[in-house]
Amino acid sequence: MCPVLAVTNTAKNALAMGLATAFVLIMSNLVVSSLRRYVPKQVRIVTFILVIATFVTIVDYLIQAISLELHKALGAFISLIVVNCLILGRAEAFASKNGIYRSLLDGLGMGVGFIMALLCLGVVREILGSGSLFGLQLFGEGYQEWIIMLLPPGGFFTLAGWLLLFNWLAKRRERRANSTGKESIS
C-alpha cells in the first residue's frame, strides 16, 4: 500500500496508479500460475520478483509512451509498484497454488479492489484540495482550495478518515448484530 499513497492527490493519478498496479497484478498472477509447475520451490520468490519487475518495467514504458505528463506526475512511484506487498502476496498466496483461470479472476478482483481504494483517496483529496474531479471544476470560481489535501499530511489524514469510517461501520454492524442476536434469544 505504502508508495501509492503519494500519488493519490488527484483522482486521475489515483486511477492511473490503480490501473498500472492492477495490470501488473493480473499479469503476474497469470504468468506465475501458468509457470507454477516449472518453478522449483527454492527459487520461487526470486522468480516471482523477476516476473513482477518485468511487468513493472513494461508498464513504466507503456505509460511513458501513452502520456509523458502522466509519467511525470507519477514519477518513480510506478517503479515502486515492485515492492507493493499486495502483488507479491497474491502471487505467493494464490497464483502459485491455483490455476490460470482462477488466478486471473483473483487478480481482477484484487485489482479492482485496489483501484477502488485508491480512487476513494484520490477523489476526496482532489475534491477538497482542488475543487475538481478528474480535472473537472466542480464548484464556481470562488472555491477556496484546501491545499493540505494535496500535501502528504492530507494523504495520511484521508486514509485515517476512511479507516475510521470503516471501523465505525464495522462497529455499528457488530453492535446491531449483537442486539438483534440478543432479541432473538429472548
Binding site: P3, A76, G154, A160
Partner: protein
Amino acid sequence: MNSDPLWAIFLNACLINNFVLAYFLGICPFLGVSGKLATATRMGGAVTFVMVVSSMSAFGINSLLLMIDAPYLKLISFIAVIASTVQLVEMFIKKMSPALFRALGIFLPLITTNCAILGLALFQTNKGYGLLQSFVYALGAGAGFTLALVLMAGLREKLELAKTPDIVKGTVITLVLAGLLSVCFMGFAGLSN
C-alpha cells in the same frame, strides 16, 4: 550530473522530504515497528545501514547499466542487487558480530521489501547523484527514517496508556500522528536554500 551541496542533500532527505512523512515510503515498517521505542531505534539503525549499503551498490549497478546502455534493466537489477545485498549483509553480520545480528537480525528480511530502500535507489538515480552524494543522500534518508520512527514510537508508547477511543486505536491513530508529524516537518521546508 548534479551539483547540489552535500549538506543540502542531507537536510533534504532527512527533514524536508522525509521518506516516510513526505514520500510515504516505508509506511509498512513505520506502522508495524513503531509501537515500542527500543525496537524502533534498532529498526532505524538497521534501515540506515541497509540504505547506505544498497545505495552504494545501486550506484555501482547504475553506472554499469549506463555503460552498457541498457536503462531498461534498471528496475530488475536494482531489486536483485538490493535483495542480494541484504542477504550478504545478513550473512556477514551473522559471522562477524552475533550480538549485532541478534539486535538487527529479525529486521533484515523485513527491510528487503521496504519500499524506502528501492525508492532511495531510484531517486538517487533520477537526481543524478554522484557516489559521495548518494552516500550522503542514503545517510540522510536513513537518519530521517529513524527520526520519524523514533518520534512516532515515543508518541505511541505514551498513547498506549491513554484513553484513546477504541475505534481509532491502532492504525487510525498512527496515521493521524503521522499526518501531524508530517505537518510539523513542513516547518523545515526551505531549509536547504
